[in-house]
Symmetry: C2
Subunit: 390 residues, 2 copies
């Protein structure tokens, strides 16, 4: 096992795209490759995260099409699917292939085009992430599951619902404040006030529109290389120092969805590999598909004790400048959530943060960052811990 680094990152603007998934991937990939100061021929494999491109565009074996589209026909390719965690898994796998010494340089990322679907089809496709035999027939969709999470969280920690709703609104407000100044975000340039959040339509009580992430198109990619090569290519290599994965199976088999065991297992694996603890993390991009999901994730990652995450939001601990800035990119809530691309876009943000390239949303002095991506309803969770390599 040798040290592995990220030498280049790229992503499309998230939102609505007229490009195909393959074309979006190409855009992100070419940006990542150009940033890496290497030639196409140096790349030895192409790993692509994609959740449901077969339904969305009638395209399977998408990794092959992605490789060919940028002139890398012939290379080993793999498509990874772990629902919303697909491209995090692709990057983790690239890490292992390079760490093992089998490859020196791998292109990894993800792509998804969901806005071509009708709302009803999108709802159905998102629903593929729960257990098809035991859960799909109940009609429970993601907003319903996370609404249950909010109610259970409020009940467990004896938080009056209006107070939890205010906390969730603040999570949304923060996400939009950051996304508003992130040119890659779906809601870039769109100012969102607390009043707009409170006034938005109810989706699944207590979750309103501004508690829910949007449907998005987009792609993101990174170039992963051995640390030795990375140091020749860039002055700012970002080391992958920890990776972790965990799984849950069905929602109905969970003991307590306010504490997601798959996340706790996965994060522990990543911390152990890195030899780091939650307090070592300077900045984190985590899976805020719903506002309550962010609060629960900050606890699952060990930044706050169980039941304390909502207080941290109210204190401003998760703002830029706070104790542990969460989702400076705007997160899934405001940056957008093209599911197959989400994990790679989180890595994009952390790499930019660690390099100090985030301008007005920069977390000053960030040296160690973490990504947290959750596929399905907790079914597949993956983590990366990244560290400045210079």
């Amino acid at each position: 096992m040798r040290e592995v680094a990220i030498v280049g990152v790229g992503m499309t603007k998230f939102g609505t795209s007229k490009k195909t998934q393959v074309e979006m991937f190409a855009e992100a990939a070419m940006d990542a490759i150009n940033e890496s100061n290497l030639k196409l021929k140096d790349i030895q494999a192409v790993y692509v995260g994609n959740a449901d491109g077969n339904v969305e565009e009638g395209q399977s074996v998408i990794a092959s099409m992605c490789a060919a589209d940028i002139g890398l026909q012939g290379l080993p390719v793999i498509r990874f699917e772990g629902a919303c965690a697909s491209s995090t898994i692709a990057i983790i796998d690239a890490f292992v292939w390079v760490a093992s010494g089998l490859y020196d340089i791998v292109l990894a990322g993800g792509t998804e085009r969901q806005r071509i679907m009708s709302t009803s089809l999108a709802t159905r496709v998102m629903g593929f992430g729960v257990h098809s035999r035991y859960e799909t027939p109940t009609g429970l969709s993601f907003p319903g599951i996370f609404a249950m999470m909010a109610h259970l969280y409020a009940k467990k920690y004896e938080i009056p619902l209006p107070q939890l709703k205010e906390t969730m609104a603040r999570v949304s407000f923060k996400a939009h404040k950051h996304g508003c100044i992130n040119p890659k975000a779906q809601f870039f340039g769109k100012e969102v006030t607390m009043q707009m959040i409170y006034d938005s339509p109810m989706i699944a009580s207590p979750l309103q529109v501004y508690d829910c992430c949007p449907i998005s198109d987009g792609a993101a990619a990174v170039v992963v290389a051995s640390a030795d090569i990375a140091k020749k290519l860039t002055k700012k290599p970002i080391l992958i120092v920890g990776v972790g994965q965990g799984s849950s199976g069905s929602v109905c088999s969970q003991k307590d969805i306010t504490r997601i065991s798959a996340r706790e297992l996965s994060a522990k694996r990543a911390y152990n590999m890195a030899g780091l603890a939650p307090e070592d993390i300077d900045v984190c991009e985590l899976h805020d598909c719903f506002t309550i999901a962010e609060i629960v994730a900050t606890e699952g990652l060990g930044f706050f004790d169980p039941g304390q995450g909502y207080k941290a939001v109210l204190r401003g601990d998760t703002d830029i400048g706070g104790e542990i800035p969460i989702n400076p990119s705007g997160g899934i809530k405001s940056k957008g959530h093209p599911v197959g691309a989400t994990g790679a876009a989180q890595v994009y943000e952390i790499v930019k943060q660690l390099r100090g390239e985030c301008e007005s949303r920069q977390v000053e002095g960030a040296k160690i960052g973490m990504t947290d991506t959750m596929g399905g309803s907790f079914a597949s969770i993956a983590h990366l811990i990244l560290k400045r390599g210079w």
Copy 2:
């Protein structure tokens, strides 16, 4: 990089199943685990190949559901998709994680349930394997592509079409002869005569029904372990000595579909890793989705020179007892083709062959075997070379 072995294999009978994909995977996985003489808790990750389970059963993140279904909730899981090559890629990835030292024991396999689809939906879903922007709109389906391959092969090597058709019929006859005596095969117990083959309906000229593989349900799984552990678990470990992958992108970008460059690249990578050559292979399970595909594959793998593969069939070189026995399991043609499970089922057969457990379809003295799996129309191709470890 350390040595890696397969310590247990399992597969369902291929054909029509009333079980879900997750349940079929569980059946195959438990057989593989039981054969491995280890406990469930020894398994560190679950890797699942699956092509289109979201369309077939509304199930994404299937690897998570598969792990939970056999009591392995919590473990790192990955779903791999490379169309028909999905589970070969899952096994290759398991190999890398174990070779790297990150894991000691990984369960890998694949599952697919296609017979619940209507013929029209199945045709559409299979069609996801070509380029969705440039090829799908032409209406070209797999039988059409392989029919073109047959015509181009006949023209290139100046073979009268009736002679090529006789050769293809012999490939089909051989497949059914083997499948007839393989209890796991979809066409087990079904005797097929040359006359039945000649009399079968035309699908896409010159391909008749018996030139085409069936639509199938099934699952297969293997347990991959470090060689050191393998030697403690079993007296007959099967070493993974070479792996390879290659990609093609779209069909329309191929120079010559009678010589598939992705296969030649991938096989070369596997041979190089193993330090072996085509003449070292004693038995091979290869991707005979259509009879012409088998002929072309035997050339692409280097068993015969380009244009010589059809002669080898007529000479009986690819029969059991011949120079290089091909598809003693009955192959995709007769064993069946639940796409996500196909690669793992090929590995199942080769492991059984190398262990000498194939009874009336045994290739005597086989010490080195190879699998060849082709996803989409050549889009993603993967190879494994296996060797007796004792």
